[in-house]
């Protein structure tokens, strides 16, 4: 089977008169298994196969990829890692430090990755100064999703600052709706909290706290203020929120049971799946007080070192294809996110994606305001991220004071570093 496939691959390669290219195989471990996600990744498969290589799909279903990740580790330990795996953020560095990842510098140089990727993004894809992974999309995390109908009935306007947010939330609550649809899971608590930190302290402060893990910033009054503001969210959520999945919370906004939700732009997929139009049936706005700032969450495929030269060649072809404008467009139209290339043609995308892209380009050009998301594993190792999750979620679900929370956060981050 494998043999005949590679013969077929050779035949195709021959027919396309690409003389020196041998057909190789790429095995890709990913957890894009839901409908729209599977359609998105199938595009890459077709493109790789059109180049004459074989694609071996290694999809492991399950949530945020915990299952897939466990499988990946057992494969790596046994010395047989797949060609490529969906690894993101600082995990890329950890795998790189262990010496598992392949060098993609020649692909990157040939395709001008340094010019099309913002430096902050490129940094995440590099280990020790060398490209080892290819980004497939950018999600903006600091979004506010609102139901205009509910806002109208409550006489509230879409907030642009934290103060306005609480005013609007009060009005919606008084009108008998759940003001904020929230899912009480640690990562959702953290997602809301980091947006609040960005709103309270600005992007420089965000950078100090979540990227540099600066002890003084972590223990500062700005941090205390952030926790105080975060506590206020609790007054506006409903009793059923603990343990609720994010898409169920989004459904509350879609159905008009709740006024708004703080969530990354994957929430848009839920709105469009329910046949809602942006601007008309739902509003996407920057999280109050973070307009012009962009916390990103990037999915990427890291490339593992291959023993077989043909497979290594196929792997490089795939890396090139991932950053091609065509794949970026198709993938991100399906997934709800935006392309990573700052030179991408945005005309097929909707207004939310266009707004997102505008901020993405502006912040990357200004070199300011484009920040890696802590809640989504972009800014720190999973160890530090986990330590932060624990404190944030415990604070939100208990009556811990902001002073204690700041102290606890400082201490546990230090212990996890």
């Amino acid at each position: 089977m494998k043999f005949s496939k590679s013969i077929l691959g050779l035949a195709i390669a021959g027919a396309m008169s690409v003389s020196a290219v041998q057909a190789g195989e790429v095995e890709v471990l990913h957890w894009w298994t839901s409908g729209s996600e599977a359609r998105s990744i199938a595009v890459l498969k077709q493109m790789v196969e059109a180049e004459g290589h074989t694609w071996k799909d290694f999809a492991v279903a399950g949530g945020a990829g915990e299952n897939a990740y466990t499988v990946l580790r057992s494969r790596a330990v046994s010395g047989n890692p797949p060609a490529s795996a969906q690894i993101k953020g600082l995990e890329i560095q950890e795998w790189g430090d262990l010496g598992f990842l392949a060098n993609l510098d020649d692909v990157a140089a040939a395709n001008h990755w340094d010019d099309v990727l913002p430096p902050v993004v490129a940094k995440v894809m590099k280990n020790d100064g060398h490209y080892v992974a290819a980004p497939v999309n950018v999600h903006r995390v600091n979004w506010l999703w609102a139901n205009p109908e509910v806002f109208k009935k409550a006489g509230a306007k879409v907030p642009t600052s934290l103060d306005e947010l609480w005013v609007a939330a009060d009005k919606i609550k008084a009108a008998g709706y759940t003001a904020i649809a929230h899912g009480g899971q640690p990562w959702q608590d953290a997602t809301t909290f980091e947006s609040i930190v960005l709103a309270v302290g600005g992007s420089d402060f965000f950078d100090k706290v979540f990227v540099k893990l600066d002890q003084k910033a972590l223990g500062s009054d700005t941090m205390k203020e952030s926790f105080d503001q975060f506590r206020k969210v609790k007054q506006y959520i409903d009793a059923g929120s603990p343990g609720r999945d994010w898409n169920v919370a989004t459904a509350m906004v879609i159905k008009g049971e709740a006024g708004m939700q703080f969530m990354g732009d994957w929430a848009k997929g839920e709105f469009t799946a329910a046949n809602k139009a942006p601007g008309k049936d739902f509003i996407c706005a920057a999280f109050p007080g973070t307009d012009g700032e962009f916390t990103f969450n990037i999915d990427s495929l890291a490339m593992f070192k291959q023993k077989n030269a043909d497979n290594a060649e196929a792997q490089k072809v795939m890396a090139k294809l991932i950053l091609s404008p065509k794949f970026q467009e198709t993938f991100n139209l399906n997934k709800g996110s935006i392309p990573v290339r700052i030179d991408q043609d945005m005309s097929p995308f909707d207004s939310c994606a266009e707004a997102s892209m505008k901020t993405f380009i502006a912040t990357s050009k200004a070199g300011k305001g484009l920040e890696p998301s802590m809640a989504h594993g972009m800014s720190t190792t999973s160890t530090v991220q986990g330590a932060m999750y624990d404190v944030i979620t415990e604070f939100f679900n208990s009556d811990m004071s902001s002073e204690d929370a700041v102290k606890k956060l400082t201490r546990s981050v230090k212990a996890a570093m």
Binding site: A239, G386, K408, A415
Partner: protein
């Protein structure tokens, strides 16, 4: 001439001697490797610096120090103590009570026994999901009673961080007490009838007969029930993941969830391994003295 006669039984003897060993050896081998071998491997890992992948960089007890300085671990231990004790005690009580009531030669006993035993056929994931809906204040029991007209009724334990661990006890007891009942019922049926008759002739009341004669004679059943329940409690993971996911916050965190998260999602395999070893030590510390006393007691009888 005598040799060939001796040869035959010797071969049969040999087969008889070796056959069970040969047949059993794969099982023994697999058990040795996949249970005891991995216990040893985990213990070794707990003394290393392992993060994403196992590395053999030994750091002594550093991971254990980290573990016990972690607030979440201490909370997980506390939760396990609350859950474990309540779960075992309430299951024993409810199971025994149901068994005694069923033992009164009531009608349709077979049917009722099945009704009580049935939850055991469900996995903890199903139990957790069902109770999650029942206890959710916006769709479950609270909403139902309020819709009956009791507007002030409140039953929000699941979302109350101080009470959430008790809701897990409710679901766990619902699942496991039927099984305990079945154990006790079998035990009750095994009690010698003539002793009970003799007591009745002596004029003892039913209460006295149960509390002085029957229940004390169920000692071995208590023993098996406690062993079964204790290990369900210590390895409890699926029920809690389905019911609360460890939340609200970390309020229903238990050691098994802690171990899973630190080993597999937080790249701290060393700390995870250390927590697994501490869990094992906990089980050993409880079970060994218990087993020892029980086994000695039965030998003396």
């Amino acid at each position: 001439m005598s040799q060939p006669i001796k040869m035959k039984p010797r071969l049969v003897d040999k087969i008889e001697y070796w056959l069970p060993k040969v047949v059993m050896s794969p099982t023994v081998f697999l058990t040795m490797v996949f249970i005891y071998g991995f216990i040893i491997w985990t213990t070794v890992l707990s003394f290393t610096k392992s993060r994403i992948l196992p590395v053999y960089d030994f750091v002594g007890f550093q991971q254990y120090v980290k573990l016990f300085l972690n607030d979440r671990w201490m909370l997980a231990l506390k939760n396990l103590a609350i859950f474990g004790i309540l779960f075992i005690v309430i299951c024993l009580f409810v199971g025994l009570l149901l068994a005694i009531l069923l033992d009164q030669k009531i009608r349709a006993e077979g049917f009722i026994r099945t009704v009580y035993l049935y939850p055991m056929a469900l996995s903890f994931i199903v139990t957790g999901t069902v109770w999650k809906w029942l206890l959710n204040p916006t769709v479950g029991i609270e909403r139902f009673v309020q819709s009956l007209g009791f507007e002030s009724f409140s039953f929000d334990w699941l979302v109350n961080p101080d009470m959430a661990i008790y809701t897990i006890v409710i679901a766990g007891v619902w699942q496991s007490s039927g099984f305990v009942m079945a154990l006790f019922l079998a035990g009750l049926r095994g009690v010698d009838n003539s002793i009970i008759k003799a007591a009745q002739i002596d004029g003892a009341s039913m209460v006295t007969i149960y509390s002085r004669i029957i229940i004390p004679s169920l000692r071995p059943v208590f023993f098996s029930a406690i062993i079964m329940l204790a290990h369900i409690a210590i390895k409890s993971f699926d029920l809690i993941v389905a019911l609360t996911g460890g939340g609200p916050g970390n309020s229903t965190d238990v050691p098994a969830i802690f171990m899973y998260q630190f080993s597999f999602t937080r790249s701290q395999m060393g700390v995870g391994a250390a927590s697994a070893v501490v869990m094992l030590m906990g089980i050993i510390a409880i079970l060994v003295p218990f087993l020892y006393s029980e086994l000695r007691a039965t030998k003396n009888v």
